[in-house]
């Protein structure tokens, strides 16, 4: 089992290493159109980085805040007496609701 894992790792390393370098190269259009320190290339790089980061930052912040609020509310609820929904709905007139004993 250990030998199989080691073989798979080595295979992934051997095939992935040259592939990673190939992926890191720019496309033919960008590679040939701009020089090594072209401002347009730099502008597009920063803009792409910003636009990639923006949705993750926004949705991460909103999701984190919602998680925090729900977690805090759950803590409050744990401290309160929990009434079952059926006990309130089916309670006879004059009673505010049953509680489990």
């Amino acid at each position: 089992m250990v030998r199989t894992k080691r073989t798979a790792f080595m295979l992934a390393l051997v095939t992935g290493w040259p592939a990673a370098q190939a992926v890191a190269q720019s496309c033919a259009m960008c590679g040939s159109s701009f020089g090594p320190d072209d401002p347009v290339q730099r502008a597009f790089s920063w803009s792409i980085l910003f636009l990639m980061a923006a949705p993750y930052t926004l949705f991460g912040a909103v999701a984190g805040w919602l998680f925090y609020v729900h977690r805090r509310a759950a803590g409050h609820r744990r401290a309160a007496v929990v009434e079952l929904a059926w006990s309130r709905r089916e309670a006879p007139a004059g009673e505010t609701g049953g509680q489990l004993t």
Binding site: A43, F50, R89, A91
Partner: protein, 196 residues
């Protein structure tokens, strides 16, 4: 047997109300719109060798700095109104909302005067990437401020007619959230466009 429905207790109410959730979704969507516009501006700004272009007028920094202060200060009366309602003090809420709307109108009027001056000096929407990106980005923000001022006016009328209470003030709270968004957006846009 007669049955009756008891209103849900406070433990059953969701921690985030539906109106607040809807407002967060709206603000997140608006933020993505402005993220796209800022991305556009970054491409033009960083790709240019000289910014602003030599034949184009400079943006008025001093006046806009003062105008920014007016917009940021306008958030305080609104925050005071919301805080007062949450404490159960309904008095002077309408006046505070009206003050915020007035300061927002001042911001828009100064922006409009500034734009008219820039157009007279030759900076138009069609005068290259500098004018185009400036008017699209700042104009989009101005449209949002205009919508927020209209919303504030509606909230002020509601506050005068029927008043808000500690239990019912969702309109004021949502309007305040949107105004915070508009002010926070300007904190990002002003240094980006006028100082960077």
């Amino acid at each position: 047997m007669r049955r009756r429905v008891v209103p849900p207790s406070s433990a059953d109410t969701p921690p985030v109300s539906n109106t607040r959730l809807a407002m967060i979704v709206l603000i997140t969507g608006e933020s993505m719109l402005f993220a796209g516009l800022i991305g556009m501006y970054l491409v033009f700004r960083l790709a240019a060798r000289t910014w602003p272009p030599p034949d184009q007028p400079r943006l008025p920094l001093g006046l806009t700095t003062l105008n920014s202060a007016v917009l940021l200060v306008s958030a305080f009366p609104l925050a005071g109104a919301l805080g007062a309602i949450r404490r159960g003090e309904a008095g002077r809420v309408a006046r505070r909302v009206e003050l915020t709307a007035l300061l927002g109108t001042v911001f828009l009027a100064v922006q409009g005067a500034e734009w008219a001056r820039l157009v007279r000096h030759g900076l138009t929407l069609g005068s290259g990437t500098y004018g185009g990106s400036f008017y699209v980005l700042i104009g989009c923000h101005a449209l949002h401020v205009l919508a927020a001022v209209a919303w504030l006016a509606v909230v002020a009328v509601l506050a005068r007619r029927r008043g808000f209470t500690r239990a019912r003030h969702a309109a004021l709270e949502m309007c305040t959230l949107y105004w915070y968004f508009v002010c926070g957006l300007w904190v990002v846009l002003f240094p980006l466009v006028y100082l960077f």
